[in-house]
Amino acid sequence: MKREKFKFLSKDRVPSENSRFVSGKGNFVADIDRPNMLHVAILPCHEPAAIIKKIDFSKALELKGVVDIVTGDELLNAIKPLLNGLDTPHVKRYPLAIKRVRYAGEWVCAVVANSRAVAEDALEKISLELIKQEFVLDAEEALSDKSPNVHPDHGSNILLEKKFIWGEVEKDFDKSDHILNYTVKWGRNSTVPIETFGVVAEWNNIESILDVWASIQMPKFSDHIATVLGLKGNDVRVHFDVDVGGSYGVKRGIKHTILASYISRKLNRPIKFIEDRLENMRAGDAHGPERKFNVSLAFDNNGKINSMKMRALDNAGAYAGRAPFQLGKPIGAIVGPYKISSVEYEAISVTTNKAVQEAVRGFGQAPTNYALETGVDKVASYLKVDKLDLRKLNFIKASEFPYTIPSGSEYDSGDYLTVLEKVFKETNYKDLINKRDKLRKKGIMAGVGIASCLEPSGGNSSFEPLLNEKNKTTTWMESCQINVDALGDIIVKIHTTSSGQGHETLVSTIVGEILEVSPEKIRVSRPNSLESLPGNSPVGSRMAIMLGGAAARAADKIKSKIMEIAKFKFGVSKDNLIYKNASVISNDGNVLTWQQIIDLCHRQINELPSGMDPGLASFDIMQVPTGGKLPKNNKVHMYPCYSFEFHLVLITFDPVICKPNILSYTVGHDCGTVINPSIVTGMTYGGVAHGIGAALFEEFVYDENGQLMTQSFLDYLMPSSNEIPEIKIVKHCTPSPHTYFGQKGSGESGYLGAPAAISSAINDALNPLKLEVSSLPIRMHFVSDLIASHENNGKFKK
């Protein structure tokens, strides 16, 4: 389809979800009350490592309103361990700690009571007898033989250690004029949605069915529940009509759901478990990557980067979670937007006595982008060339797509230089540099930051077989169903929850576009998992491509049927028919209206071609475009589409106070054809804000004793409206050849480049002092102390 012909697509249309949220009518999991429902609160253990000798909850059980108390020992005999996707049979994880605790805050037992308040009263009456154990917090230390093993049966702290060599790395290093080594660290931060995770589980023992309402963003959720609880797949009914209060990856909640479901089955009563903020921060699925990169770049005098060696060491926390795979996805864009001919990549994931990491927006891509972009800045600084020019030199050119990178992924399309040109029309780079220099003359620290990076999109799971050879998965489908009812009204069914990405608007716009029916007239329904076709949820920036693609293909099937009917009715060939405004017009002037089509399909089977089924319905189960292959020679084609973003920032700060002031923020964004501009724009603003948080404020801080210092919003600081500037977004569209409308993903946009851009700007500001910061978040006092300890300090003090 050509873009200019779009009726509804790419138009500024009000997302259909909005009205229920502005009127307080969202259906969040905490809003769901079931008759006879009980509530759960969790007892954490505050030791980073200990053997549980005894849990005495006799006094807690005596409390009025307390119904049951569940411990790990009970679960051990009743359920299977949670699945982790790796081949690490001795790293077992259950919803509650079994025999030992492995991080401060780990759940030890669950109190079930008539109200959450009473459950919390009971927590205070439980006593734990513990034998403290040695613990390890730092990832490098965890690698050492001398460190205690978080899982003694596993035999080491290594969950994953894999080295990939793609191309002639050593040769390219040898032939290069220069080699630069550096280390950067990405602090343990996350997306921290304002809604904590919550679940309501209700076992019906008459029908043997488990109903689950949960604020999830997780693939294969019901399969996981059934497997762990030993149920049949069709015993689990996950309700997708729950509104999720933000996720950006972290709303996995499998341990919460297994726990609540187990208790519900045991007591035969509905169980509600809504994490409070303390539970969420300590041990909910709240934490994201904590990563150290050692990188070597080999480059020539002219700035051409030839090769890269990257060692990424990730502190996964106490259990496998999704952390190891977050080292895998970045392989699909390991060289960013640059032509780097060979890469050595060593991915190491280790267990430590910290909370478990879960999936976070970008699934590891943002830290990798930060590591790579910091290096590009360093090369420019080393060669004393402009960092923008260096990027331009190394960019893959528009004419070179499709472009296969050393790790085997093929970039679909892009036009990076044009995006840059458009950005500079909005915010001129040279002007920004001049402005910076003027500010510096006034004694203000000022820096221009840039970052250019890719958003791999269309969510595939190819990193799983790449990192675990036992995993042979090559499909990661999404599906959609359409039914046109007897009144001619359209119902589209999608099979996933939504956490703000506007899936209902997405599919109604696309189905409306193809059937030429106003999207406002289309109702989108999110049935439960038993009424759904297979899907993999909105992970990996995939819904525009995959759900949008499935919706388009299902709508095409409706249209094809209509054309078949018209062909039969008018007795002409398809070439003589045009579908227009939900009617079919033949070239000799006959018109088959929508109402007539509906009558034929629903009431007059005798008028349909023989053998054609009545009704007007379709479904589509779509495979990821370009997917379907297993890795070969340690190479894999990861995701189908690659969105591009370019960030340009000017930051100033006082040399003593060092509070960053973002004076200018412009993002160029190319995610192909945009389905709904206000949704995409909003997600990009949000992603930038989220990236600013990661760069400057947000971190789950552990002290040397393994205690989490940031258990509340008093210490885990997320940017407010005062910290986020007026961001300018410049749009460009390079359609993807692999998708229905040329769309690419945009759910991770902004977040993937903002941390690198902010760091780049602060380092540019520090550059005249020959100082640099190489870990996130960049706290004010760190920069100030750095400047103060610098010998040139005096001349900058005002």
Partner: protein, 288 residues
């Protein structure tokens, strides 16, 4: 995150408040609750009785009597911010109040609550210390007066008797013709707990002579303190000199550090912010 159980009373007189305090050794006064409620919800605070003083007669009054401004403990921060009496006579307080929490916090938060809470980064305690406020406390049948600078002992620690109730805060009104003031603070995000805050008030007589200089610092220490700046009388006052004097005065003060902000950072920033506050104050009296 639900509070542990407690009882609740809302007395209408100070006597009744004191009665409840005397009868229940584990009671707490609820004066707005913007700091107390989170502590209750996290179960950091576990009173058996909460005495809500929102309805005590006179507790919401702001009155100027002679050379004193008397403020009731239940005066809401948002009300104080709009008070013409305070705007005219306590401009430093007016400059500090916008830094207290966010607008919805100030709607409920009170001056008395903030003072007794004694958060080390509290803006209102800092102003009280800087301006020499006096706290009037009833303990049983005794009326006690405590000078602000003697009241604060440590983070959230005060000289408040365990059964005492703050019923009035009095601020002296300047007897000089002109006052200039400045308030600056820095936090990670605006409205977070301050890493450092500084309050300055300068009084000038009708002849243009500077009579008093008061500097208070908060956020960077365990409790707000007045910093004695001496040695300015002999010379003409200028910012450079003041900065030197501040640095000197801060030499032996123990600054607090944590992962948000190091002690050395807090110290440097305190000096910088104090200079800014002085600059504002001196500009206001037309001195610079």
């Amino acid at each position: 995150m639900k509070p542990a159980p407690f009882n609740y009373e809302r007395p209408k007189t100070l006597d009744a408040v004191c009665d409840f305090l005397a009868k229940n050794s584990n009671s707490l006064i609820l004066a707005g609750g913007q700091s107390l409620l989170p502590m209750l919800s996290m179960r950091l605070s576990r009173p058996s009785l909460l005495i809500d003083v929102a309805h005590v007669k006179g507790f919401e009054e702001i009155k100027k009597i002679g050379n004193t401004i008397n403020i009731g403990p239940m005066v809401r921060q948002s009300v104080a911010l709009e008070s013409s009496v305070l705007k005219n006579h306590l401009p430093l307080l007016i400059k500090a109040l916008p830094f207290v929490g966010h607008p919805p916090i100030r709607v409920r938060g009170t001056l008395g609550g903030s003072l007794v809470q004694a958060d080390p980064s509290g803006e209102i305690p800092l102003v009280a210390v800087t301006l020499g406020a006096v706290f009037h406390i009833r303990d049983g049948n005794d009326n006690i007066e405590i000078l602000a600078r003697d009241f604060f002992l440590g983070p959230m620690l005060t000289a408040m008797p365990s059964s005492g109730c703050l019923y009035k805060i009095s601020f002296p009104v300047s007897k000089y013709s002109k006052i200039g003031c400045g308030f600056h603070e820095i936090a990670s995000r605006k409205s977070d707990y301050a890493f450092a805050s500084t309050a300055v008030q300068i009084e000038q007589n009708e002849n243009g002579k500077i009579e008093t200089i008061s500097l208070g610092i908060g956020g960077a220490l365990d409790y707000p303190q007045v910093i004695n700046i001496s040695g300015y009388n002999e010379k003409k006052i200028n910012l450079k000199l003041l900065k030197e004097l501040i640095s000197e005065a801060l030499l032996n003060i123990d600054f607090v550090g944590d992962f948000h902000a190091s002690a050395s950072y807090r110290k440097r920033v305190t000096i910088k912010l104090a200079s800014r506050s002085f600059s504002d104050a001196l500009k206001e009296i037309g001195y610079i």
